[in-house]
Symmetry: C2
Subunit: 321 residues, 2 copies
């Protein structure tokens, strides 16, 4: 058994290599660059955690982890293009350092490379894993499309937002765990509980992310505070505020969405607090965490095997407190 | 046994359906739109031809055909973005009809959908097919990257051009045939000959395409004649002309590359003819066709089974004469 942190080290040791041939360098050097700028490697480690919950780590779990990390990086390269983001993890994005067309192709070959890693998995596991992987992969694209669609709308419902976030963020966390569990020989019932654990942790994480962007300590959070508010980003907080605000608060909030003064963040936060959005967000996060842990509880293995997953949840949930 | 044309009809019958779920429509409707605007469906039919060269058509060959056509359309959607092409088969490209970000995601989900079709293939065939598919898929991306790289260079060698064309165009034709042959239970030796047949047919086709763009009858060719010349596109013809031209012709041709007068095409064609590029191109095409047919000859099945492949070659090679 390994701790969450030990598995991060273990994964990184294997992943720290070239993932592409050397030629053409104009295509593969940018790919290696992006894979080399780091990242928390949460998803591939989830594959290892999913495996080790049930069994010793099988070589297939490493192939799977590589595939998942390649897939995640494919989606980041293409998302950065769509978002016109110039920085990722403090480094230049692929389309900024190279160009748009290169970034497009780098993303494409990363996705293909992900499938090459999947193909190394023993055939006994392969079919189920491919099915889960393909479904999650499509859902991540759907989530990104919905996110873009919603950014053009005046407002979206809470249900729509949770649906989008689930697709864009949670399903890959959930599928990473479940695919790892399949490698570990888990039963279907255990696989499903683990998937739901991952999915709910993912939503709780997003609630926290939205909360910290508004109420967090900028220095600890590592992002400019109030970034979402400045951009009128539809978040758990804004959507819920518009749902629960009284008539006056609603008018004030709607007016603030069109306002760009220096005190915009401060004024929106005041309104959020008046609507008790901060305490509501805490309880919403707790609700999803509770759901996640109920599913973890239902997995039929001894408690000691679940420790690394609890470490992971704590790592994700307390990282900025 | 079916003729080439019968297989086109057979494939289209199965392919004429929705390939995506209905929601989110903002992602999947553009995908269905692009798949619906048609195309010659050469590559999926090659899968069926490869299968039927050795055996009755297996259901797996249709899954494979769908995968190959989805992959091809993924590459077209992304290539059109890179080339800033507004039309494809006379219809608006995805990024023109919708937007760049949608086109990016539509291409991505088409690639994922291709893998979903592959996954339906029986596991006995799956591993070998995935390996071939992944290799060809990466090579297509490499070819596209090299094509973009070369467009920024003053000139490229004939060897480099053939390498690029092979990756960008030929390997998918070759792999489609070989993957079909694997479904048909072909031996490794027969598979390799069939791959080489496809690869060489692909290069011959590109020689013809370059030739027709310069010397073809615009009305029959369906494209504006001399388009490549107007854009100074590096083609078999231009690369060879610069190789064989004498000092005076070389100076004249180099000057014409910087010239944009109305008679540019006419003047370049005169020079091409003076260098006998037209007859050279005919003989180059013949050389690759000969290579292709030598490999077809070497495939250990009775001659009558090879007829549909010869029909296909004739269709590709005489289509504009």
């Amino acid at each position: 058994m390994h701790s969450f942190q030990e598995l991060v080290v273990k994964f990184n040791k294997g992943f720290d290599t070239n993932h592409f041939p050397s030629s053409p360098t104009s295509l593969y050097e940018p790919g290696e660059y992006f894979l080399g700028i780091g990242g928390k490697r949460i998803r591939p480690v989830l594959c290892l955690l999913g495996n080790e919950l049930f069994n010793e780590i099988h070589e297939d779990a490493f192939h799977l982890s590589n595939a998942v990390e390649l897939f995640h990086n494919f989606s980041l390269v293409h998302d950065d293009m769509m978002d016109e983001a110039s920085l990722r993890r403090g480094k230049a994005t692929v389309h900024t350092k190279y160009d748009i067309n290169t970034a497009l192709l780098v993303g494409d070959v990363m996705l293909i490379r992900a499938y090459e890693y999947l193909q190394k998995i023993q055939s006994a596991h392969l079919n189920k894993i491919l099915q889960l992987f393909n479904t999650a992969a499509k859902e991540v694209c759907e989530g990104q499309q919905l996110d873009m669609d919603y950014s053009k709308k005046d407002m979206v419902t809470m249900e729509d937002y949770i649906h989008m976030i689930t697709l864009k963020t949670s399903v890959l966390l959930a599928a990473s765990l479940e695919m790892g569990a399949i490698v570990g020989g888990a039963s279907t019932a255990n696989c499903k509980h683990l998937y739901e654990f991952g999915k709910n942790i993912g939503i709780a994480f997003q609630v926290q992310d939205d909360y910290l962007d508004a109420f967090g300590d900028a220095a600890l959070f590592g992002k400019e505070a109030g970034g979402d508010i400045k951009q009128n980003k539809k978040t758990f907080l804004l959507i819920h505020a518009l749902e629960v605000a009284n008539q006056d608060q609603k008018l004030a909030l709607t007016a603030l969405l069109k306002y760009n003064g220096a005190d915009k963040v401060e004024k929106v936060l005041e309104l959020f607090k008046a609507c008790c959005i901060d305490t509501w967000a805490e309880s919403l996060k707790a609700k999803y965490l509770h759901k996640a842990f109920e599913h973890l509880e239902s997995i039929a293995v001894t408690s000691d095997r679940k420790k690394p997953l609890i470490e992971l949840a704590n790592y994700l949930m307390n990282r900025n407190q």
